[in-house]
Symmetry: C2
Subunit: 544 residues, 2 copies
């Protein structure tokens, strides 16, 4: 293993270019250890690498800059020695493309301008609220009585969501806390960093934090595609424009002590999920991490449903449907696909791919070995040849918007030894063939030895473990196979007492869990369309 | 030459897909004649070809769909037999990439939705004006009292310019005729297709046409790159989202009876230049064409200045500067580049490229044979190895916004037998190293036997032939070499009497031109920084 020192490549005043030179020199090589001196590296996009990328669940496809680009490399270790990589602009911090055996470690990622604005509630009026801008780095301005970002690549973005955090506890207090779409109402600049929002319908307490959010997921922190055996260790994301870690069509990924952590007076970390895995295979291990205050889930793992839009003899035309998930090349010759009703998501036939033609970034012609008479145009197709096992172990998940983790992977899944302090659902089994087109059902999930502390503290009606109901079910068929929940501790005080909603599953085990501090309300587990359930006697069960 | 009939490929109900199948089957082939039945082909983007493109002077780089894609082909003729190719959405009608000896003929191009709205002035108020929407196809809506396009690829665009046409004469009546930036002021929907615009500063006559323009050049009509020997014959563009014909890094192009023509009650044709040539070589012939009512020039031919942003020994880092002109790969090993002051545009040194590294879509490292001690960082670089000859012959240019034609090509240039009925400048010699970065000076231009009829009818103070002055000149050095203007007819009645402004040129000939119907004001020719001039005696000359 050859050792290379980044200091030997810091020949210009532009570390973006220095990084470019280093990784351009290393492109295609194997067996390299790159060591960085501990420093704060300020990276501007001017001299950085660029590729045309389609980043799943981000959208905004096309040319993307990257501070670090590892491409066509094998057996590489990047040791940043605890450095900060601070990018300025819509850039991916680290891109890993068509590479294997890649380790990235000891690194902090930041982006000072991520299309959000932190504000503090300072006064209530008849129908307005006054907000104090807490930071200046977000670069918003007022236009037609609307708050918009400064132009970025020729486009100015409006505030489309907002969230509340409680000042004292730093806990999440919900989406749309002002009860309005901010972008539809009038905002007035009062000077001295003060703004007045009109037609407010809800009035969060004075002192609470309102985050005005114009995020458009223009770049991820770490992005991996068509790569295998990736390890990110001791990596902390303070801020980035999209997801903290996004991997698509990768095999074997380990994130260890990979964190989204608040910093510098902010209440927000990543602008989307902390970690996200699309059409991955092999084993995904996420352990010893802390995920806090990102805009979306701590983890989301799923495949992609495509929609059958046309068929011919031995041919299916499938379309990648969600506008933020196009251009992801999820099919390989030999893959098996299931065809399923987009509502019930129960498959009714399988095909084998013999040929693939990418017509454009969302439309794909698949030649299949079998005839296609039984395929209904308009139904969904799922590639079942990619399945990832998941271990989500010894992690802390707290105070982020959205859910704790989203599980939609057919591989064996273990969630253990974690602490969840979530405002709503902690573990969600989600899949959707009509809007998100994220697939699919689970086969074997174990949730054990976790602590759920005050979970659902904001969304008190939500189940902590939730199988999202389908709009339709099929008699005697189940979307999920087996989900086991045992040895966990539920500290339900001041949270939701709906411990779980199991739905559309063949086998449910909910045993040996400890439920404490129930606040007088009786904790319970809900069941619907479950074929077989082993349930502990001391927890109430409601069958719907 | 093999003949292929499109009708044999119309196997599905989607002509976008049928076109895709045909040209996908032909990709890489030579010696093909493709015949289309005369028809109106409706093309939706769903099944069309896509490439990541950087279209010069358009911007919005990334994945672009094309109804017809000719790629890696030689000796191909497409005969559309007078058909209409009507695309729906942000699509290029015809893309020609890495091909040679390509003929496209007998075709009409349309796009019903091109981010513009035709309106008619129906009433004046104290500070407002009432406009009647003339068409419904433009799909604008009101948002925060602002007129914006419906969402397209996730973005909604505002009205950033507007133009006036006189109803009776259909003549252009200027940019920003309401005296405001429409996007900064309030618009009210009055129902019944009526809108009220407030804070209007000018009041165009009732009955005149106001075109509200949210165009962002998302696609060209015909786009050619890295191709040679292209002929477009009998092609008419009624509407498209960007330029009618855009070619970059191509050699030998002929447009014959290639027109931008009004249609269907519209006053507008292409949303940008009718024809545009960037870093082309060989011979560009544009003849027997009519260009009317497009948003920008009838023709613009130029190279690209890049900015030297860094240098090292035998290395220059140059940047493509204009945000709508990035990713155009204009350099080849062996090319000669000139370095010049960005204000005077007078070159002071030349280098020879020995190696090229495209760092990203706007930054390029050029290794050069010579040392770089004499290069000043911040100055401009021009590739002088690409020069195109231009023949612009027997064309009609009328009533478009902007100029008639823009000439910035070092090759021999002839403009002859044309009729110009232009609201302002007819022939402009333009180049700019500070904002547009379009290069360069001309060497040998002949303007002969043209008729300039009532030119400058709206911009009466402008010269009809204009060398745009540089902010600085260099003693004894000239940006342009020779410009000859002879045998032309200037019918100046109701137009500008400033026939020409010659500036920064070595040799000017202005002889044997006929000037008629001068309305009592005396026509004249203006000279500044001209080394040598042969001028006809019967036209007044003003030396500045």
């Amino acid at each position: 293993m050859k050792t290379v020192y980044f200091r030997d490549y810091r020949k210009t005043d532009d570390d973006g270019y220095n990084l470019y030179c280093l990784f351009n020199a290393l492109q295609g090589q194997s067996g390299i250890k790159v060591i960085f001196d501990k420093d704060e590296y300020e990276i501007y996009p001017d001299y950085c690498s660029e590729r045309n990328l389609f980043v799943s669940n981000h959208g905004w496809n096309g040319p993307k800059r990257m501070a670090v680009l590892i491409e066509d490399m094998q057996d590489v270790e990047l040791d940043f020695s605890g450095s900060v990589l601070r990018v300025h602009g819509a850039m991916i911090h680290i891109g890993i493309l068509k590479s294997s055996n890649i380790t990235v470690k000891n690194l902090v990622l930041e982006n000072p301008q991520t299309q959000i604005m932190h504000t503090k509630v300072v006064a209530h009026g008849e129908n307005y609220i006054d907000l104090l801008k807490m930071q200046g780095k977000e670069q918003f301005h007022m236009r037609h009585s609307e708050l918009v970002t400064d132009y970025m690549d020729g486009i100015s973005f409006n505030v489309w969501i907002h969230q509340e955090y409680e000042a004292a506890t730093e806990e999440f207090r919900g989406d749309f806390p002002l009860g309005i779409n901010i972008c539809d109402e009038k905002i007035e600049d009062l000077g001295n960093d003060m703004m007045r929002l009109y037609n407010v319908k809800r009035f969060p307490p004075i002192g609470n934090i309102i985050i005005l959010n114009a995020t458009r997921r223009l770049a991820a922190g770490v992005f991996c595609e068509n790569s295998s055996n990736i390890l990110c260790q001791n990596v902390t994301i303070h801020s980035c424009m999209g997801m903290g870690f996004a991997a698509q069509i990768c095999e074997n990924i380990t994130l260890s002590n990979f964190n989204t952590l608040k910093h510098d007076g902010r209440y927000y970390t990543a602008n989307a999920d902390a970690t996200h895995f699309v059409s991955c295979s092999g084993k995904v291990i996420v352990e010893n991490c802390t995920f806090e205050c990102q805009l979306d889930d701590a983890l989301n793992i799923h495949g992609m449903y495509t929609k059958v839009v046309r068929k011919a003899n031995n041919e299916l035309f499938v379309k990648e449907m969600h506008e933020a998930a196009k251009g992801i090349r999820i099919f390989r010759v030999g893959d098996r696909i299931q065809i399923l009703d987009p509502v019930s998501l129960i498959p009714y036939t399988e095909k084998t791919i013999t040929e693939i033609e990418y017509i454009n970034s969302d439309l794909i012609r698949l030649a299949v070995a079998e005839d296609t008479d039984d395929v209904i145009v308009g139904d969904s197709a799922e590639n079942i040849s990619y399945t990832a096992e998941l271990v989500f172990r010894n992690n802390i998940v707290r105070h982020n918007r959205a859910r704790g983790i989203l599980i939609a992977s057919k591989g064996k899944t273990v969630i253990e030894d974690c602490l969840f302090i979530s405002p709503g659902v902690c573990v969600q089994f989600e899949a959707n063939g009509e809007y998100w087109y994220e697939s699919g059902g689970v086969n074997d999930v174990t949730i054990r030895n976790n602590t759920f502390e005050r979970c659902g503290y904001f969304y008190k009606e939500y189940p902590l473990i939730n199988c999202v109901p389908r709009r339709a079910v099929a008699e005697g068929k189940y979307f999920h196979k087996k989900i086991s929940v045992y040895g966990n501790k539920f500290i339900v005080k001041d949270g939701s007492v709906k411990l779980a909603h199991f739905d559309n599953a063949e086998k449910i085990i909910f045993k040996d869990n400890i439920v404490t501090e129930n606040d007088g309300k009786e904790p319970f587990v809900e069941l619907y369309q479950v074929a077989d359930a082993e349930l502990q006697a001391d927890v109430k069960t409601v069958s719907l």
